[in-house]
């Protein structure tokens, strides 16, 4: 039996967003009626950025609303897409006259509702561009199915598009930059135990003491296979090796690396994994130009991690380094 800090499961998302807004009153505001989280002080004269999806991935997305990143986040219920009307409200709220980039993770419901919201926004003469994030290497199959899922690379897309929009780039430029980041970034994840849906007593799937689920997504779904449990260096290598094989960074090149906890992984563990990522890449002659280590794109309380690699073109680094001030990411 998994105990959780919870009132009524149905009120969980609303109450959490109220709590977040109460914690960061100078940065964000929660509009419960419209179902959107927006900047406490809306930005003017810049391309707007809206993102969203199911809840349960905190601090994604509401935690990334603020200067240098998102203008509006649109949260759905746990693991469920926001509705088309919610996304429409969010898109209109994000517009300051220069159009809105919608950052969408590749899931059927999200893609559908954001597309519809874009069409509704068109009626209101608000221009929109979609950046689809589909970075999950575990779902890279050529079977004509739904394609790769969107996972932790969404953080890099939001950060880099946010900096670009803040610097005054035009709608098309911001969108194209986001698409380039999404195209070049790949993520792979593993879990030592599954997350538990709020109000449920059992985790989404069971793992034996000597098993690790490789290639998990962020909705408690099973991965692509089970591998034996091992030490941190060996587990991290299970993620780094396929990412390097896929992206093929040259010796002497550099990457932005995100070591991401899935909700139930303690910071000490993530730092050990970060060390392993650095050492593994260094062994291949690849430098980590920038890295981010922490729990940013989670799957409720899943005990596990993901590694995201993004080849660091020189023009991306200044955008990555640009100031950001949000509840969950600030520098």
């Amino acid at each position: 039996m998994r105990r959780q800090i919870l009132n009524n499961p149905e009120d969980l998302v609303d109450e959490a967003l109220e709590g977040l807004a109460l914690t960061h009153p100078s940065t964000i505001a929660y509009d419960r009626e419209a179902g959107i989280v927006k900047r406490a002080h809306p930005a003017r004269d810049k391309v707007g950025l809206v993102s969203g999806g199911g809840s349960g991935h905190e601090p994604l997305h509401a935690g990334f609303v603020g200067a240098g990143m998102l203008d509006v986040a649109v949260p759905g219920a746990v693991f469920a897409s926001p509705t088309a009307l919610q996304v429409h409200e969010g898109t209109i709220a994000a517009d300051s006259g220069r159009g809105v980039v919608q950052i969408v993770k590749n899931y059927t419901g999200d893609v559908l509702n954001f597309r519809i919201a874009g069409e509704l926004a068109d009626d209101d003469a608000v221009r929109t561009e979609v950046v689809l994030v589909d970075d999950d290497l575990a779902t890279d199959t050529a079977d004509g199915g739904p394609g790769r899922r969107g996972t932790a690379a969404v953080l890099a897309v939001e950060k880099i598009c946010g900096a670009s929009a803040e610097a005054g780039a035009e709608l098309g430029e911001v969108a194209e930059l986001g698409r380039r980041v999404a195209r070049n970034a790949r993520t792979l994840s593993l879990a030592l135990s599954a997350g538990t849906h709020p109000g449920e007593t059992e985790p989404a799937f069971e793992l034996g003491a000597d098993e690790v689920e490789l290639g998990v997504g962020i909705h408690g779904e099973r991965g692509t296979g089970r591998v034996p449990f091992a030490d941190a260096d060996a587990l991290t290598e299970l993620l780094v090796e396929p990412l390097v094989a896929e992206l093929g960074p040259a010796r002497g090149s550099s990457v932005i690396a995100i070591v991401n906890g899935l909700g139930g992984t303690c910071p000490l563990e993530l730092s050990v994994a970060a060390r392993a990522v650095h050492r593994s890449l260094a062994g291949r002659g690849i430098a980590v130009a920038r890295s981010l280590v922490g729990s940013y794109v989670t799957s409720l309380d899943m005990h596990g991690m993901s590694v995201t690699l993004l080849p660091a073109d020189l023009d991306l680094l200044p955008l990555w380094d640009a100031p950001v001030r949000t509840p969950a990411l600030t520098w």
Partner: protein, 223 residues
């Protein structure tokens, strides 16, 4: 007399929406049961919640014409989760846009239905035979298009379109799903009418009933 330019019954939009509310809020359990047997079981709840939201839209902002009534329903669905909710929302949005006057002519209604079908297919990617709402909407749209301009009355044509939709929905029981949630469960859903197709057929039945001032007979759902 050519039927294309005949306007549908006075207050058709209002009566159609009333019929939708009455039928769906009364049959949500049966639709939910179809979904439990073929998908994830939330369809009945979703459609009831969409129509309750439509009802609130109507109460807050009393519609003045056909477009207003159908827009209230469209927004009810667009404010609902899942995949079929937004697809029905866009379907009703096209229907809401079809009328130039207070009520659509038969030709406008036929064009609205065809546009609704096109938008559902554009977003959902389903074809006839995929075991989705398209299996009910497409035959109704085709029937109206083929008999438009004949001498048969709108009452008769809407009734035939509704029957074509019901037949289309019932035919989904024999199909293996290629789209939608039922496609994940494969053979398990064989023998079960697709809930989206059933709901679409009821939408057409409600239109036919509204035209003549009757009620939709949905007894086929449980037969």
């Amino acid at each position: 007399m050519n039927n294309a330019d005949i306007a549908l019954a006075p207050d058709f939009g209002h009566r159609w929406v009333d019929a939708l509310l009455e039928t769906f809020l009364g049959r949500a359990d049966e639709l939910g049961d179809l979904d439990r047997r073929s998908g994830d079981g939330d369809f009945g709840t979703n459609i009831a919640s969409a129509l309750r939201r439509a009802q609130r839209n109507i109460d807050a902002d009393r519609p003045q014409d056909y477009a207003g009534w159908l827009t209230a329903v469209s927004r009810g669905f667009l404010g609902t989760g899942g995949t079929s909710g937004p697809l029905f929302g866009m379907f009703f949005r096209e229907l809401s846009r079809c009328a130039a006057g207070a009520e659509p002519t038969l030709a406008e209604f036929a064009r609205g239905l065809a546009a609704g079908l096109a938008t559902v297919q554009r977003y959902g990617g389903a074809e006839v035979g995929h075991k989705t709402m398209v299996d009910a909407i497409a035959p109704a749209a085709e029937l109206l298009e083929s008999q438009l301009g004949s001498n048969d009355s709108p009452d008769l044509l809407l009734a035939r379109a509704a029957q074509a939709a019901v037949d289309g929905a019932r035919s989904t029981a024999d199909l293996l799903a290629k789209r939608g949630r039922a496609s994940y469960v494969g053979e398990v859903a064989r023998g079960v009418i697709d809930p989206g197709a059933a709901a679409a057929a009821i939408v057409l039945q409600a239109a036919a009933a509204a035209q003549v001032g009757g009620r939709a007979d949905t007894s086929w759902l449980s037969s």
